[in-house]
Subunit: 149 residues, 2 copies
DNA sequence: CCTTGACTTAGAGTTTACTCTAACAAATAT
DNA sequence: ATATTTGTTAGAGTAAACTCTAAGTCAAGG
């Protein structure tokens, strides 16, 4: 709880803080990427209220998405996470759930490592090509310009 | 020309060598990601023939795509490249084209650097979460299992 | 009181990037 | 000679991931 402001945020505020549109936030919720947030009671019954923990969770999930995890895989990950908080589940299942989550994370970390490698390769190639173009530019400018017109 | 086999490849061979489907290769060509390849003359007039240089180009382009460059941006990049081989262009334009290509590559390299950073963050978080789950698993297994059933 | 603005929902529409189908041609295999 | 394979085209279909619309609720400001 250290450093937490214990504030609640509307979907609009979360949208501004994360850069994810409200459409997309609701869509992610529907798709099972985000657990159902608390809703206000009384007259404003139904309005979503996010806390700091929710916000951090959304940012983590978005990080997974941004680095190429499929929405369906993220949903799987989140689904298992939700089961962990259901105390009425049989205790034996928790081990299976933990194994599944660990496996999913392992799979993603592997993917990230591959991406890292490919990214490096493309950067090298891009830099090489850039140097080539820069060289061409130099040649262009050092020689008197020929006009064909 | 060193190391080149100077072979020609059909679209099917290119597909097998690159792992890109023939549908996708033709689609990329239509979208302007790949310059029009040579076609056979005579009776087999119309059949695409790719050489080693084409193959390397396709692989570079695919690398850009795989690391998150939008097809439209790749098309822009390629479009400018094609102009370079049109000798009837006015010479002044070549400098502009080189500047544009360098700018596009700079933009992409920046994007890649950002991705690299985000990737690192997500990996750290994923590893942390994984450790947490592993710890939970250990606690689970060291204690006698409680049955609620 | 009434407008403005932020929220709610279900569901329709859009964009991107393929992915495939249909209909046909030409070369190779049986 | 016929069947199979591999190619050609235009254009239709699909899946994922948004993105928006329509119709409505609620509360604060002028």
């Amino acid at each position: 709880m250290k450093g937490d402001k214990n504030l609640m945020y509307s979907i609009g505020e979360v949208s501004k803080l994360t850069g994810i549109s409200t459409y997309t936030l609701r869509y992610y919720e529907k798709m099972g990427l985000l657990p159902n947030p608390y809703r206000m009671d009384g007259k404003q019954n139904g309005i979503r209220q996010y806390n700091d923990q929710d916000l951090r969770f959304i940012q983590f999930i978005y990080g997974l998405k941004q680095t190429g995890m499929k929405l369906k895989d993220i949903a799987l990950f989140v689904e298992d996470g939700c089961l962990l908080t259901q105390n009425d589940q049989e205790i034996e299942n928790i081990q299976d759930i933990l194994h599944k989550r660990i496996e999913l994370l392992n799979k993603h970390v592997n993917l990230l490592e591959q991406q890292l490698e490919q990214l490096g390769n493309v950067m090298t190639l891009a830099n090489e090509k850039r140097s080539f173009y820069l060289e061409m530019l130099n040649e262009q400018t050092s020689k008197p310009v020929k006009h064909f017109k």
